[in-house]
């Protein structure tokens, strides 16, 4: 039954419908595969009993003709989504043992559609990182290996467990969240596709907050169409999140009609950064050729403030994080240090509960928000954020969608880039600008580097135009003929 794990979601739904197999069988195949892939550390909490129970209920619904849009499909849920009565840690020591008494809107929409939860996927602590090495529950290992080295590679971050689980066939799809690239960069590193929709498309209710003006939920899957299937179910207005948009959710799957003739694809010249590896610029050029051959028109555009996106992000995101993470005080939930004095208890609880990267970001955020610095840092960053957002608006007067590389390198070895926080931050140089502007962005695997490791291309769309993003991504998917990870690719 092991080949059941290699199906796409679309084909699995067909197989379930035509009674080729049951959700219980499909789910059991994944649970078995999870057992054999423990070394990847993709899950913080595995929920096999719950999964089998959900699968059984799904089979019963299907027998009664009441199957939902994703009925019986086993998924990984990033451990940043609160799941009722299932430990939710945000990969932090401070939340160890926390069992939410409610379900996040996104996960409840998936469950309402019949999805099965295999477990809670590992991530960087509070989603702060680009390599999944800041998790209190250990590093996630990328299933891919370089052809020239046996070193363990990072799956990217922060949604490293989500990406690794889908790439390693121990989940058919996964939820992720993306604040500055946390879906797109791990998707690229693991050779799968992932989409961060427009800010406001998915409800943030029940998602552990990192930087609220940037956080957005999205999906991972092995095909663009599977992403569209998941996103269609997860999206939609939620009165419990005031920033979720009152907009109809388009049929993202129906948008995949393959027609991109006459579409204007913008190529931002500022993304040709100094020191970009030749393989990445070559792949980018290849992507341009593919889209041209499919009838798209290529337009050179300029996003003049691109260079300032990372410094802007590293003010705004830590500032919002320092405020959001003030709630972890050892009083209402999570770990508490044993101290007689209240302030001492707060300080020791947070010292013991947070890891180094989280502490660094809280400190930066606290500093830039502190008296005397607020205008110089935080307000200044918000002003530059407007300029970055306006750059995109101007670009979209000339084109419909942008094509860029997803990340400046392929997956790197675990432990690399750890000596200097800024070096790690540079991983997100191509993904952060779209996050600051709230735009939908998708990474699709398009080729490999000299070591045989996957590289992704990023498609960035207009606000609320995930349909075009998905359509272009699928065109690249079809033309790239990218070979997914297989045990042989080791």
């Amino acid at each position: 039954m092991s080949n059941l794990t290699h199906l796409t979601i679309k084909d699995a739904l067909k197989g379930l419908k035509s009674k080729d197999f049951t959700s219980a069988e499909l789910t059991q195949a994944h649970i078995d595969a999870m057992g054999a892939a423990k070394d990847l550390n993709a899950y913080i909490t595995e929920t096999p009993d719950l999964a089998l129970e959900q699968a059984k209920a799904s089979d019963e619904r299907r027998a009664k003709g009441e199957a939902g849009a994703l009925d019986g499909i086993p998924l990984a849920i990033k451990d940043l989504f609160c799941t009722k009565n299932v430990q939710t840690t945000a990969a932090s020591n401070i939340l160890e043992g926390f069992k939410p008494q409610y379900e996040s809107t996104v996960s409840s929409k998936l469950f309402d559609a019949g999805a099965v939860m295999l477990g809670k996927a590992n991530l960087d602590e509070f989603a702060m990182g680009s390599s999944n090495t800041t998790s209190f529950y250990g590093n996630v290992i990328n299933p891919w290996k370089s052809q020239n080295s046996n070193k363990d590679l990072t799956p990217g971050g922060s949604s490293g467990g989500s990406a690794a689980s889908v790439a390693a066939y121990i989940a058919m799809g996964a939820t992720g969240t993306d604040t500055g690239g946390s879906i797109r960069q791990p998707a690229a590193f693991c050779g799968i596709s992932g989409i961060k929709p427009t800010y406001g498309r998915c409800s943030r209710w029940g998602v552990v907050a990192f930087a609220s003006s940037l956080d957005q939920a999205g999906t991972f899957a092995r095909t663009v169409e599977d992403n569209a299937l998941l996103l269609r179910t997860m999206s939609g207005h939620d009165p419990k999140d005031s920033t979720s948009a009152k907009k109809d959710v388009p049929d993202f799957v129906a948008a995949l009609n393959g027609d991109i003739k006459g579409l204007k694809v913008g190529i931002p010249k500022e993304y040709r950064v100094d020191g970009m590896p030749e393989e990445i610029s070559k792949l980018w050029g290849q992507g341009i050729e593919w889209l041209k051959s499919a009838g798209a028109e290529i337009v050179d555009i300029s996003l003049p403030h691109t260079h300032y996106a990372l410094p802007t992000y590293y003010i705004i995101a830590p500032a919002e994080a320092s405020s959001n993470l003030a709630r972890y005080d050892g009083v209402r939930y999570g770990q508490r240090a044993d101290e007689k004095d209240l302030i001492d208890m707060y300080e020791l609880t947070r010292a013991q509960g947070f890891g180094d990267e989280v502490k660094r970001r809280i400190m930066i955020g606290t500093y830039v928000l502190s008296a005397g610095y607020y205008d110089a840092y935080y307000i200044k960053a918000q002003k530059v954020r407007r300029l970055i957002s306006e750059d995109f608006k101007k670009a979209y007067e000339k084109c419909d969608v942008l094509l860029t590389p997803t990340a400046p390198s392929a997956a790197f070895a675990i432990g690399e880039n750890e000596d200097d926080p800024i070096k790690m931050y540079l991983n997100d140089v191509f993904t952060v600008p779209a996050s600051l502007a709230g735009l939908p962005g998708m990474s699709v695997p398009a080729g490999t580097d000299k070591d045989g490791l996957p590289l992704g291309l990023q498609i960035i769309g207009r606000p609320w135009d995930e349909e075009t993003v998905l359509k272009v991504a699928q065109k690249i998917e079809n033309l790239a003929q990218f070979k997914l990870w297989s045990p042989q690719s080791k």
Binding site: S322, R360, P421
Partner: protein
């Protein structure tokens, strides 16, 4: 700008994170590097630019002023480190040495 040890201590205090001396020594240069990195923004001319707080044009709506949730003290307290009689328990505050 470089953050001296006194500033790091002050910020840690504001953030309610206890730092050991060796952590302060280690964090100082790291934080200074990040601050120097973000200070590139000073080059950008932002005269007459309004700060952008939210990227999406959504009008915040007022909901009806009715009770639509509550009555779940047990759920609220489920994850608390210490509770008694429907309350969270914290270390004694009144008459403490701090503040």
């Amino acid at each position: 700008m470089s953050l001296d040890q006194e500033t790091v201590k002050k910020v840690a205090r504001l953030a309610r994170i206890r730092l050991e001396d060796e952590e302060i020594v280690k964090l100082g240069p790291q934080l200074s590097n990040i601050i120097t990195f973000v200070e590139q923004l000073a080059e950008v001319d932002t005269d007459n630019v309004e700060p952008l707080a939210s990227v999406v044009d959504i009008n915040l709506e007022l909901r009806d002023d009715v009770i639509n949730d509550g009555g779940c003290v047990d759920k609220v307290l489920t994850n608390a480190p210490e509770t008694t009689q429907g309350y969270f328990v914290v270390p004694k505050v009144v008459g403490g040495e701090n503040e």
